[in-house]
Symmetry: C2
DNA sequence: TTTAGCACTCACTTTCTTCGAGTGCTAACA
DNA sequence: TGTTAGCACTCGAAGAAAGTGAGTGCTAAA
């Protein structure tokens, strides 16, 4: 168990290191007002803290640097919740002031705010799709050969896809088809669209339209694209600002990792409700060994859960980040409340 | 005027430097098969070429490096059109094989290909919007309070915007409105929508629907967003691969420049039809002083013109780039042919 | 238990050296 | 007259040597 004094010293070391990115020496700790004992005492305590694994030296005569265990302890026990500055609060409030009614917009904007306020990289994961249901299908003919299929979901999400209309299909046939599809598919979850199309609708279409084969396959191609959950990333280039990423190779491999959207999405999904932190090695990817990932969940009205995340070096301003993400996720949840 | 031999030497220097990014010395030039004279002769010729401003030294005893004037001359007079490799040709062809029918898709994909094949950053500018006309409006009610307005243009572009439906407006009113709007606005250029709404439609709506004011302002907000031309950027992180961007500050300022989308769009627009190159100082932005920007135009069926561009260091593989962009812009033009 | 004092360590910086690729110039050669 | 061999010279890059200072651990005294 750590003594009061050790806690204090650990706190000072981590706070200082987060601020300066420089190893912290005993003398500079002794200078703090809150610290009443001498540098020699601090050295002794630091030796103990190091033995317990909370801090490390970069070389034998260097100051101390928090270890991952140290950060973990800091996050779990030492975090003093920080009051956000007025400016920060205002920025967020203003952003949510102009009533946004589309999920994408809200999320885009949130990602932007988050990365701007933090100088880290923000990643936002939309909610799972399986609850999303088809609201309406529309087909807008552009000309003789092509038309646009538009799909609207109950969440207000719009997808569209242009497709070729084979000459054999006339517009009345097309209209019929859309009517049938709408009457039968409204309310069907997107993920089940494919199945449903195959089992039920196929027959129905056959009886009502000529050239069902063609029409069917074209529509299918147009509508069954991928409805996979999207990742919204903001401030990708903020990574370059961090001194721990002076090394271009590291930047490159981190970028490569981030570009594996599916893996990242899985990672974000794997957090529990509320705020989570993954520090260094706790992250599954090699390129993220020097990074921390903070995730927070937000809720949609149907109790589905999405995730916002911040990616930065392990030396992160955890307390400010916690407050920010808390406020932001609350704003998001609030915004989405009663939407569908 | 340059002699044959000087041309050869200049060519070798630039080709070599483009390949290796290292200053080129007289000995390494003398080793080339095409070069039959000694390094001393080459040194004399190089002194002349330097005097004329085509090449430079990085320091008093270094090999030579092409100057911007050198690159300009190279691009204007020495460029041997390169046959693309089969792999490159196949990559492009395959990408365009699966019939894409949406502008965005084609452009996205093109930007992706271009940056992947080149390791530079690709930027694609859509065509001007003033020819784009409204094809159809649709309103899909989501629930009592909100609905989605969908706007389809003759180019197959789809925009949508959710908006609040005030309780006073019932769905039959909404429907009426949409009908009126559609009948009067079809074929109207997007840029004139605003004006038209004000002058003609406003009155019409008044006579046909109650609560016209409300409805009107809501729809307006929903539909008249910004239809500005979008920029599609691919391979932004490729910049990090180039040895001339080892310096993070340069990268940062270049990124900052690229993020000024309007400026970049203007820059792309300013090129003439066909392929253009801007080398170093020929670019208007400070951060692009060490960069070259190659632009090429593609055509839409209505003879509107869009631009694809490649951003890289002045030490660019110009000949390969020219061939690639030629092929790509042709593919794009071909794809768009007869679309609307 | 705390602290002053001191020897020691080691990254960083600066200075100096060495090395070699490359130059320009000169003189001889075809 | 144009070309080339030869040679002294330049200068960056890489490495070695020396100095600096922030930091440590240990010891002994308060």
């Amino acid at each position: 168990m750590l003594t009061e004094r050790q806690l204090l010293i650990l706190q000072v070391i981590i706070d200082d290191f987060i601020l300066t990115a420089q190893p912290v020496g005993s003398r500079s700790i002794a200078k703090k007002d809150a610290v009443t004992f001498s540098s020699a005492t601090i050295r002794n305590e630091m030796a103990d803290l190091e033995e317990m694994g909370y801090i490390e030296k970069t070389h034998s005569s260097s100051g101390r640097v928090p270890s991952e265990k140290g950060y973990r302890f800091y996050v779990d026990h030492l975090l003093a919740p920080l009051r956000l500055s007025n400016k920060e609060i205002m920025t967020i409030r203003e952003a949510f002031d102009d009533k946004m009614l589309e999920f994408e917009r809200v999320v885009q904007k949130s990602a932007g705010i988050l990365s701007d306020l933090t100088n880290y990289t923000s990643i936002i994961l939309g909610p799972e799709v399986f609850e999303t249901k088809l609201k309406q299908l529309q087909i807008v003919p552009l000309n003789d050969q092509s038309a646009i299929a538009i799909l609207v979901t109950n969440t207000g999400h719009v997808e569209h896809r242009a497709f070729n209309v084979p000459v054999e299909i006339n517009s009345s046939n097309l209209e019929k088809m859309v009517n049938i599809l709408n009457s039968r598919l409204q309310g069907v979850p997107l993920v089940k669209l494919h199945e449903k199309l195959h089992t039920e609708i196929s027959d129905l279409l056959k009886t009502h339209t000529d050239q069902h084969e063609q029409a069917f396959s074209y529509l299918q191609a147009a509508l069954l694209d991928d409805h996979s959950t999207k990742l919204y990333i903001g401030g990708k280039t903020n990574i370059l600002m961090q001194p721990e990423f002076r090394d271009l190779d590291k930047v490159r491999s981190l970028y490569a990792t981030i570009e594996q959207e599916n893996d990242i999405a899985d990672l974000l999904r794997s957090g529990e409700e509320g705020i989570n932190v993954r520090i260094g090695q706790e992250n599954p990817f090699d390129a993220m060994q020097n990074c921390s990932l903070i995730t927070a969940s937000y809720k949609l009205s149907n109790n589905q859960i999405g995730t916002i995340a911040l990616l930065g070096p392990t030396r992160m301003e955890y307390n400010r980040m916690f407050s920010l993400m808390n406020v932001l996720s609350k704003h998001m949840t609030e915004t989405f409340k009663g939407w569908y």
